[in-house]
């Protein structure tokens, strides 16, 4: 890049100290003549050579990464009775960073890394067994996890530098760094809420499979947990392994 010198009249640097009247005169002069000594303004400066370099990064190119956010719910029925959830009150929120490596025109590999918070709102009914058989007015298990995933992406249809239509198949793994059991009970005119952390009956790790279909920045994801939710020695029934969610990708233009 060439040196682009803007012709700016410089201030004179005096070797000796300025006395107050001198400073005042200098300041007054600066104010009075500020219109004359302002710097030139470069309105447009373009380096065409830099722009013409073919990028390897972009929505339809070799590398791409973006932020995403997903919101969904537990879905389906429990695998064993006694672990029924109220699905519509068992939300999941996740957000993170997604990377995608486009290794063929319609194939890509990707990886996600993010945080996930999910709740299981436990249905209070006869035969309930998770985490125990005690009944409350409201009861839920909350899991906060660091989540990673890798996936294979298939693109559909002709496209340019664009996300387009896609389907992903992948595996995920979660490490629960915070687990909480929350109960809520009304006793007369008193409301009692109890939170328990460090749940020894809940597994710290989880893994499973997921599939996603999407167009541009929207995707529908279905996730299936293969791992057990609870430590086997506690002999607790398994809640539904399904989660369904809607994801939004944030693509800077």
């Amino acid at each position: 890049m060439n040196r682009h010198i803007i012709n700016t009249p410089g201030l004179v640097h005096h070797s000796g100290s300025l006395r107050w009247p001198g400073i005042f005169i200098l300041c007054a002069g600066l104010v009075l003549f500020s219109g004359l000594i302002r710097a030139q303004t470069v309105v447009i400066a373009e380096n065409v050579e830099q722009q013409s370099e073919k990028s390897r990064y972009g929505m339809g190119r070799l590398h791409y990464r973006h932020l995403y956010m997903g919101f969904g719910f537990a879905a389906g029925s429990p695998l064993q009775s006694g672990a029924e959830l109220v699905n519509r009150r068992s939300p999941m929120l996740e957000y993170g960073m997604r990377y995608r490596l486009q290794y063929a025109s319609f194939l890509a590999l990707g990886a996600d890394l993010g945080l996930r918070r999910q709740s299981w709102f436990i249905r209070q009914q006869a035969g309930k067994r998770i985490p125990d058989s005690l009944a409350y007015d409201k009861e839920k298990l909350v899991f906060v996890a660091l989540q990673g995933a890798v996936y294979q992406r298939i693109h559909f249809g002709a496209r340019g530098d664009h996300i387009g239509r896609f389907a992903d198949l992948g595996v995920f793994s979660q490490w629960f760094f915070h687990q909480r059991h929350v109960t809520h009970e009304n006793t007369g005119n008193q409301s009692v809420r109890i939170r328990r952390s460090g749940l020894d009956y809940a597994e710290n790790l989880s893994y499973g499979l997921f599939a996603r279909i999407g167009y541009q920045n929207l995707a529908l994801k279905l996730q299936y947990r293969l791992s057990e939710a609870f430590v086997s020695s506690f002999d607790l029934p398994e809640p539904s392994p399904w989660h369904i969610s809607l994801e939004i990708g944030f693509h800077p233009m």
């Binding site: 010198i5 012709n7 004359l36 373009e46 065409v48 339809g60 530098d161 499979l209």
Partner: protein, 557 residues
């Protein structure tokens, strides 16, 4: 056991998922402007199928071309018996139709037809002896435009349509940037020129007073909705309405565009949000416009990242760019918006067909500086050619379906130049389209200077009314001091034009030996020594070009 059940369910879901992107295509039907219909199969893709040959059978130029089109061809010395216009062989179309789910637009110029077919079907089609080539095409997408109700707002109140003094000034300033009022003073208003406008719909053009003069004088001579296969274009997206107003609208006696007496043919080639399918309608429309005798095509449309990469903007890759070049070879001046991707992180360059060589590509500038707006796409093309060719005002006041609207985009710069071109062609009817294009470039405010943001600048009517170029006195000096080059403004320079607002800008660029610009700059002039350049870092063979107030000078270090 549980894992096995889960895996089985998962695999079933995957199978369903892999079909999902195409599921919505099932049972959709399609009707083309050529009356060919079909239905979709779930696993099909879109292709262009090119044929080896066609013949003159059933082609009668006197029937195919409108009288106006024949006249234009005669004027330009083009034979009406052009093989490009011969129809595709019906037996070829029928054979392909039988082997595909759907056939769409058939293009005479490219001897090709759009089809949707599965991999097996396309393999069978490719083995047909008369199939020359098969290329992937844009996919199919149903759009929201189908849900847009027709505009029944015929009764417009006077209050909404009365221009205030400020609005009148705004409209005049848009045209004054091109010295448009000087055309009007000379009675140049595009009369006798036929302009085709390709856009996403023209709602309100049949009712809005800004277009009444066109209707009353019978100057909307043909309409075609390629999306709906009908002649009613007065629906859809009002983008076309706003664009048409910038070419030839008139209200309260104030011209919104310069070609207020031109003839118009209106083509709806786009739907609500520019999905992938519309490129084929643009291609069909360009053949139709040629057939209907269009002198100028205004296309405030373009295609980019949905199906292309910036490095494909070379004027040869996209079918629309190649069609635009063909249209130019048939004597039509194609005016296309440069695109609004100037602020895009991933695109920034011109869109297609604005990348085509013989297209007059128009970028956007803002008033009063006449400097590029941030959103206006810049050149060069992927193969290093100058684009945009010229610029015009992009932030405009225009008519919409019901009243007026402030709008911004190169979409509105292009029609301003289309109207300008119509006036120039009216005055110089013997010119061909390329002569017209080059003369518009020469008339522009920066010519012979150019850069990739402004092209040659804003076209100026005075160039055509004052007998061509005149000697411009030097407005600056280039002074070498050791290793520095100083651009020093002469104090005696007077304002360059009627649009001068007192703000001054100096332009300079560094051009390589190959003729392409490596770097370009615009500097606000606030003191005589505007620019000081270190010559140490200028590469061998480079030339420096400077422009200020109509005067251009070069310096070879």
């Amino acid at each position: 056991m549980r894992q096995f059940t889960g895996l089985t369910a998962y695999c079933l879901f995957i199978l369903l998922l892999l079909q999902a992107p195409d599921l919505r295509a099932h049972h959709n039907t399609f009707s083309s402007p050529y009356g060919i219909t079909g239905s979709f199969n779930g696993d099909s893709q879109a292709y262009w199928v090119y044929f080896t040959d066609k013949d003159k059978a059933d082609f009668d130029p006197l029937v195919y071309f409108s009288p106006k089109a024949l006249k234009r061809r005669l004027q330009l010395g083009l034979s009406p018996d052009d093989p490009d216009h011969y129809p595709l062989k019906p037996e070829y179309l029928e054979a392909v139709s039988l082997l595909s789910d759907t056939t769409g637009v058939a293009l005479r110029w490219f001897n090709s037809v759009w089809v949707r077919a599965s991999a097996d079907q396309i393999s069978q089609i490719s083995s047909l002896p008369f199939v020359k080539d098969i290329q992937p095409a844009g996919g199919w997408m149903l759009t929201a435009s189908a849900m847009i109700p027709p505009d029944h707002n015929a009764a417009m109140t006077d209050k909404r349509l009365r221009l205030t003094a400020k609005q009148k000034d705004e409209l005049q300033a848009q045209l004054k940037a091109m010295q448009g009022q000087r055309f009007a003073e000379k009675g140049l208003d595009g009369q006798g020129i036929r302009i085709a406008v390709f856009d996403a719909g023209f709602p309100g053009v049949d009712t809005h007073p800004a277009f009444m003069h066109m209707h009353q004088e019978g100057r909307i001579v043909a309409t075609r909705d390629f999306f709906r296969n009908s002649d009613n274009v007065y629906r859809g997206n009002q983008h076309g309405t706003m664009v048409l107003a910038m070419i030839g609208g008139k209200l309260d006696g104030v011209a919104m565009g310069l070609a207020t007496a031109a003839e118009y043919i209106l083509a709806r080639t786009e739907t609500w949000h520019e999905p992938m399918v519309e490129e084929q309608y643009w291609l069909a429309a360009v053949e139709w416009a040629d057939r209907m005798g269009a002198d100028i095509i205004n296309s405030s449309l373009g295609y980019f990242h949905h199906r292309y990469f910036p490095e494909q903007m070379d004027g040869q890759t996209s079918l629309v760019a190649r069609a635009a070049v063909k249209a130019a070879r048939k004597g039509i001046l194609v005016v296309n918006a440069a695109g609004n991707e100037g602020e895009s992180r991933y695109w920034a360059t011109v869109i297609t067909p604005a990348d085509a060589d013989s297209v007059l590509t128009v970028g956007a500038v803002s008033l009063p500086s006449l400097l590029r707006t941030g959103y206006s796409s810049s050149g060069p093309t992927a193969d290093g050619r100058l684009k945009p060719n010229v610029t015009a005002v992009g932030n405009v006041l225009t008519a919409n379906r019901r009243a007026f609207a402030q709008a911004r985009g190169t979409s509105f710069s292009a029609p301003l130049v289309s109207g300008f071109a119509a006036c120039v062609w009216q005055k110089n009817r013997s010119w061909n389209n390329i002569q017209l294009l080059r003369s518009i470039e020469r008339s522009a405010s920066l010519y012979p200077y150019f850069d990739y943001a402004h092209g040659f600048g804003v076209p100026q009517a005075g160039y055509f009314l004052e007998g061509g170029p005149h000697i411009i006195p030097p407005s600056f000096d280039l002074i070498r001091q050791d290793d520095e080059l100083i651009m020093r403004i002469r104090q005696s320079v007077s304002p360059s034009s009627e649009t001068d607002t007192g703000e001054r800008y100096a332009f300079y660029h560094i051009r390589s030996a190959k003729g392409s610009i490596r770097q370009y700059f615009v500097v606000r002039v606030e003191q005589p020594d505007v620019i000081r350049l270190s010559l140490n870092q200028i590469q061998a063979g480079d030339t420096l070009y400077f422009h200020y107030n109509g005067f251009t000078a070069s310096y070879i270090p």
